[in-house]
Amino acid sequence: MKFKSQKVAYYFFALSMLLFSLQIVYGFIMAFAHMGFDGLHEWIPFNAATATHKNLLVVWILSGFMGAGYFIIPDESDTELWSVPLALLQFYSFAIVGVIAVVGFHVGWFEGRKFLEIPRPLDYLVALNVILFLVILLMTMFKGKKRTTTAWVLTSGLVFAALLYLPGMIWFDNHTVDSFFRWWVVHLWVEGVWELIMGGILAYLLIKLTGVDREVIEKWLYVIVGLTFLSGILGTGHHYYFIGVPKYWLIVGGIFSSLEPLAFLGMTLFAIQMYRKGNKKHPNKLAIYWTLSTAVVSFLGAGLLGLAHTLPGVNLYTHGTLVTAMHGHLAFWGAYASLVLAIISYSMPLMTGRKIFDNTIGHMAFWFANIGMIGMTMAFAAAGVAQVYMERIMGLEFMKAQLEIEPHFFVLIIAATVFSIGVTLFIINFLKFGSPVDEAIGQGEEFSALQTS
């Protein structure tokens, strides 16, 4: 850690961990309900559970991104954060809005649009909050003398993420138009500007962890985010196949979204290549593990599993089935959850001065979480494919098909237990670091000395 103000990141990371564990709890509630055990129905009906599960995901990942922003931007701009009190204000208001939203879901306060269930009044608070966050970051960048590409890519990703939230806040009479713009938010987030953020954080981590020349990494960073946008923007078409828009979206969406895996493949090859090129190995093994697993698993989950059902002819049958859940789980885990865990693994030793970066708990957390998530993906895949065949091809009624696939949810719960053990271990490790201390300032220097030699 170079600067005192980087400690703000810790609060966001801690909030991230808290919400992540809550999200898993709601995941279990839903999995049990799918198996037929919906004893909590009176208190937490399925629609409240699913809204909470999805929104907690978005909020904890955003919280992780904000923490990453507060950690990375001062380092890259070579200056203290513009204003620590404002950053803390932003943190507390963010947490409060999150709590209100989650409590609201349980008393039936919804907006009811997939992924954007947060009610409209809270949307405005979120917008204000994010504006404050961006102002702090941009002021820090302008204050500092250095303006690195990595910092720019990260910041512009965050700025565009905020801008793209706006189309989701307009009311449209027509459900189709509403759907259309809802995907502007959701798709252009996860397959567009969030990948800018991902690229920025990944580049920062690779620069720090491998010691490869910054110029080389940033040059390829441009190429990869370029490829992401080339395929991702028109790839939005794969959400427009069946919502009541012209047929040309089938062609455009089909072709461009099948190119999307190439961007992820580029990201994977880039990370592995840089890792192999770097001759100085950073002692923080866990951060390296999580960084590389982000690159690899995002290709598997977002790239390959996405490709598996993105063609219009296939998607006609798999659209709106558990096949989507299969892709969604591994994609979010690989691309974004692992990324937040990677930046946490990297920054915690620097903020607290405790060098717990190669311990058994950490390694077990890594393997349990990843293996568990792959198991969950396979359970979803089996359930989804069975559902497609029974419901869409053989014409069985929805509920009859659902009863047939209940055993897959048993497998899902077992895999999810393995996954949760991994996440619990990660959080135990996180707690072991304790809180950040001022004595840790200057701690990163020994690693940067390693890199420049």
Binding site: N47, A48, K114, T176, V177, E215, G395
Partner: protein, 143 residues
């Protein structure tokens, strides 16, 4: 070899061009496509109220519509055609919550007008041209 300037131009230029194409297609879709495909002229106050109820009760948290939503309860795009209005209306205020096949629906307290509105919304959805979704099963085991 590749210079950083070229890479930057590739990123900025590519993004700008593709975003412009996307905007163009969006405009065409919203102006020429959607009104025709979704019978936008038939959206009246009933449908509007139905959609509002649909959203504010988070029906998408269990059901799917146009294939979007959660995967806990049946897909409702063609439910008007499949079940008819009376059946749909029965499910809303069913004492203890509708539970036909082992999965609980929330018990609602809709007025007669609200029920009508939801039915009107589902009817409107069912009449939209969705490019062949939901697909016709090749075998009809349940028919």
């Amino acid at each position: 070899m590749l210079s950083k300037k070229q890479a930057k131009m590739f990123f900025l230029g590519g993004t700008a061009v593709f975003f412009l194409i996307f905007i163009g297609m969006t405009v065409d879709t919203l102006v020429n496509g959607v009104p025709k495909y979704t019978h936008a002229s038939q959206i009246d106050d009933q449908v509007r109220l139905g959609r509002h109820l649909w959203d504010s009760n988070n029906c998408m948290g269990c059901h799917t519509i146009m294939g979007e939503g959660a995967y806990y309860a049946p897909e409702l795009t063609k439910v008007y055609e499949r079940r008819g209005p009376e059946y749909i209306k029965t499910t809303f205020n069913f004492p203890g919550g509708w539970r036909p096949n082992g999965r609980n629906m929330v018990e609602y307290n809709f007025t007669e007008q609200e029920k009508e509105a939801l039915v009107a919304f589902l009817k409107w959805v069912g009449e939209s041209d969705l490019n062949g979704f939901p697909p016709k099963p090749s075998v009809q085991l349940d028919k």
